[in-house]
């Protein structure tokens, strides 16, 4: 929207990007890749988190009607990781368990978005309230 990413940045390790268009999904992929490189991820680990981010960004746009993603660079001692939190104020998911099943889809996709993103991450949480929106957080450690 109006704010440039740099202005919404609250701390050096925390940034927010909007997800309002298909082009934003591409931007989320690129931003995820850059941060995964900064955190020293291997090429395979970069690819996994970028792919998970792409799935979740598309869900945010298509099912949540748009929203945003917050990037957090995690530095816990010698452990380095990357956390992405996707939030939308869309219709929410009535049955999260069902939505996490492979092949479940209400859209035109393959139904691998949520389940695939979970498999590609080390940590995965989802909260959704019908009528209020959805929040999905994924973390991958180096």
């Amino acid at each position: 929207m109006g704010l440039a990413p740099a202005l919404v940045m609250t701390a050096k390790e925390r940034e927010v990007l909007p997800i309002r268009s298909q082009e934003d999904i591409v931007r989320v992929r690129q931003a995820t890749r850059e941060r995964a490189i900064v955190q020293g991820f291997t090429l395979v680990d970069q690819t996994k988190i970028v792919t998970a981010a792409s799935e979740l960004a598309r869900n945010t746009l298509q099912h949540g009607g748009g929203g945003d993603v917050t990037f957090e660079l995690l530095n816990a001692g010698s452990r380095r990781g990357l956390r992405l939190v996707f939030t939308d104020k869309g219709p929410g998911i009535p049955n999260v368990e069902l939505a996490l099943r492979d092949g479940f889809s209400t859209g035109a996709g393959l139904g691998l978005g949520l389940s695939g993103a979970r498999r590609l991450s080390n940590e995965f949480t989802i909260e959704s309230r019908p009528g209020e929106g959805t929040r999905v957080a994924i973390t991958r450690w180096r």
């Binding site: 298909q22 591409v26 992929r29 970028v50 792919t51 492979d102 393959l110 691998l112 389940s115 695939g116």
Partner: protein
């Protein structure tokens, strides 16, 4: 840049995807290829994805759709050059690209296409 170029080489169509495609661009490519298969009476389609650093479920579905549509239009499809990190990720994502022939590089892909077309008795 809002179109992926499609080249013709004899009876084959050649596509090299070199940009990180947004979803509309991927759908556009699917449409364009379908049109070109018919218009150019192509017998084969070779898609080079060696520059793609990510293939998510949407792009995977597009690739499967292209192959399935081409088959209905009597053309073979071969996808070449998938990066190892992309292959590992695709499998973990749960995407098998069923029905899509793959080859390591353009040379091998072209050889495979020629074989398939020859086997179908259309040399």
């Amino acid at each position: 840049m809002d179109k992926i170029p499609i080249l013709r080489m004899g009876r084959f169509l050649l596509v090299t995807i070199q940009v990180d495609m947004h979803d509309r661009l991927a759908l556009q490519l699917q449409d364009d290829l379908t049109q070109r298969i018919v218009r150019d009476r192509a017998h084969g389609v070779l898609i080079d994805i060696s520059s793609l650093e990510v293939v998510d479920s949407f792009m995977g579905r597009m690739i499967s759709n292209i192959a399935a549509t081409a088959r209905v239009l009597d053309a073979e499809t071969v996808v070449v050059g998938m990066q190892p990190a992309v292959a590992i990720t695709l499998v973990e994502l749960g995407l098998s690209l069923e029905g899509v022939r793959t080859a390591l590089n353009v040379d091998k892909g072209m050889a495979l296409l020629r074989e398939q077309v020859a086997a179908a008795g259309r040399t």
